[in-house]
Each structure stands twice: as C-alpha cells, then as structure tokens.
C-alpha cells in the first residue's frame, strides 16, 4: 500500500517535481524482523554460555561476513547509485531499505563482536602473549572507530530519515541532508572494512 504525500511548500523551488510524493507505507522498525533478531540473540547467548568452538566460530564468521559485505556494498556500490537517483526514486528506495537496515546492522555487529570476543578468549588470541597481538589491537582500533561512526552518525541518521518520511509532509531537504550523512558514513565504513579484511586474513594466515 502506498501513501500519497503532499509536497511541502517550496518544493518546486528546490528543483523537485510538482505534485505529490508517493512512498510505500512502512514500519520504522519491522515487527516481523524482531522475531529473527530475537532468535539470533538467543543463539548468541547460548553460544557464549556453552563456549564451544563451532557455534562461536559460525556466529563470528557469518556475522562478520554479513557486516563486511553489507558495509562494502552499501558504501561503495549502492551509496553512489542512491546519490544519483531522483528524489521520488530515492524516497521509495529509502523506505524499503532503511527499515531493514535498522534491524540488520546492529544485529550483525553484535553477533560478530560478542562471538568474536568470546572466540578470542577461548583461543587465547586476545591475550597480550599472542604472537600477532599488535594485529589484534589494530582490529580493536578499527572496530572502535567504526563503532563511533556507526553509533554517532549512521544509526541516528537512519532513524531520523525514517521518522521524517513517516510525516504527512516530509521535508525533502531534511531527507536529503540525512541521506547524505548516511551515505558518507556508509562509504567511510566500507573503506574501513577493507582494513578489517586485511587484519582478519593476516590473523588467519598467522
């Protein structure tokens, strides 16, 4: 189902087409997706509690792969495409993509980091006696910088753009500004994921 939104005053002056903006109806946080998130959270807690190698390895590798690929694809492929879309196309794409990102990104990040920390504790790779300890600390720093960007810039922009779109008369300038912030943040995170790949492959190779 789609909602037809009246354009805000001055929209034509911004070079946007006159007439209504159409956007599909959406939930800011998809309720059905919360079930999957809940299941994954339970799996993570169980994996940490039983402290077995395979479940921890699976959640860390699967979560890390999803995180890395999503960041790279969004930041370096989808981001530039979205930036060149017309406003109505961008609005429609945003209303379909962003609610899913609200659930996907925090979930894969939590899975990757929590399972990864427990895995490192179990294998002893987080200890300062580990031969490649400098690389491990480098991964902490990369993840730390990525977390600050994701938590401070990307996630708030994600939520704010969805709430703006939910308004009866969303302001295209606000959406434009927030989407720009989201896309630039995703681009920086995508580039930093390359550093993650370098570090993780080095740690795996020994």
């Amino acid at each position: 189902m789609a909602d037809v939104l009246a354009p805000p005053p001055g929209i034509e002056a911004e070079g946007l087409p006159p007439g209504a903006i159409e956007r599909p109806d959406f939930e800011i946080v998809p309720r059905k997706g919360l079930i999957i998130v809940g299941v994954l959270a339970v799996l993570l807690i169980v994996a940490i509690a039983v402290n077995k190698l395979w479940p921890l390895m699976f959640l860390h590798v699967a979560g890390g792969a999803a995180w890395t690929i999503t960041d790279l694809f969004l930041g370096l492929v989808l981001g530039p495409i979205i930036a060149r879309m017309s406003i109505p196309a961008r609005v429609e794409f945003t209303t379909r993509l962003m609610p899913k990102m609200v659930l996907i990104m925090p979930t894969v990040v939590t899975l990757t980091l929590a399972a990864g920390w427990q895995l490192g504790s179990k294998l002893g790779t987080v200890l300062s006696s580990y031969p490649n300890h400098g690389w491990v600390v480098a991964s902490f720093i990369v993840v730390g910088v990525m977390s600050v960007i994701a938590l401070g810039l990307l996630e708030p922009a994600n939520i704010a753009v969805l709430i703006e779109l939910k308004k009866p008369r969303p302001n295209p300038q606000v959406i434009e500004r927030l989407m720009k912030r989201f896309i630039y943040s995703a681009g920086i995170l995508g580039v930093m994921q390359i550093a993650t790949l370098v570090i993780m492959t080095k740690l795996s190779a020994g």
Binding site: P8, I28, V29, A41, L44, I45, I48, A49, N51, P106, T110, A114, W117, Q118, S121, V126, L127, S128, H133, V136, V137, F140, I141, G144, V145, S147, V148, I149, L151, G152, L153, E155, P156, A157, I159, A160, I163, E164, K166, K167, P168, R169, N171, Q173, V174, R177, L178
Partner: protein, 139 residues
C-alpha cells in the same frame, strides 16, 4: 528546514563515545596482565563529563522538542540497554572482576545513555511545529 543554532551534541557525543572506546581498547589490549586503571578511569570520567555537558547544553535550548526526543530515545534506550547487557554478560562469563569490571560497566552505562541521546537529538532537531500541526507522525 529548521536552521536554528543548536549545540554540537553529535560532535560531543562522538567524542564521548571515542573516549570510552579508547578506554576499552586500553584495558582489553593488556589482557591478562594487570594494568593500571588510572588512564581508563580518566577516559571514563572525561566521557561521562561530555555526556553531562550534552544534557546541560540541550536543556538550555529554548523550545527544544523534548517530546519528540523522548519518543525516540526511550525505545533506543531499551535496545542499547539490551546490547550493553549482552556485553556485560560476556564480561562476567569471562570472569572479569574488580576495578576493571567497574570501569567497563560504567563505560557501558555511558554508551547505553549517550547513543539514544544522539538518536533522540537527531530526530528532535528537525521537529517542525507546522508539520506537527498537519497531522503528527507515528513513531
């Protein structure tokens, strides 16, 4: 668009998060050796002070959309308390204790409060009473 001047809440929030992340990296990079807690405590205190500074700065803004802020921040707080709880669980599972556990737990408190603050602020700063009068939003 609402272009009124607002305090640099996002920048201060990111600096605060960076400080507790730095403290966490400092502590975790020395495991399992005993490490002086002084630097981590200093980073935590600086981070907490920035959090307080952010709230004071926001409280001084005339006509700030607190209803919109809390509508978003309360649900974000729920989500980030949950993730902080999971991280705390991992610390306890790994037998982290004493001063290190206290510093890490307080760092998680700052994280769980500051991230929802940034979310609430980012939404509330674009609040427009005219838009609200048209029909509000369904958060």
């Amino acid at each position: 668009m609402n272009e009124r001047r607002l305090p640099p809440v996002t920048q201060i929030g990111m600096a605060s998060l960076a400080l507790i992340v730095a403290g966490g990296i400092y502590l975790s990079s020395h495991l399992p050796n005993h490490v002086p807690l002084g630097p981590a405590v200093a980073l935590l205190v600086a981070s907490a002070l920035l959090l307080i500074a952010n709230f004071i700065a926001l409280a001084r803004v005339q006509g700030f959309a607190w209803n919109r802020f809390f509508a978003v921040a309360k649900w974000s707080l729920l989500a980030y308390v949950f993730t902080a709880g999971m991280i705390e669980y991992a610390f306890l599972r790994d037998h982290v204790s004493g001063g290190t556990l206290l510093v890490l737990t307080l760092s998680l408190v700052v994280y769980a409060v500051h991230v929802p603050t940034l979310m609430g602020f980012t939404v509330a700063r674009y609040y427009d009473p005219e838009q609200e009068a048209i029909g509000g939003i369904g958060v």
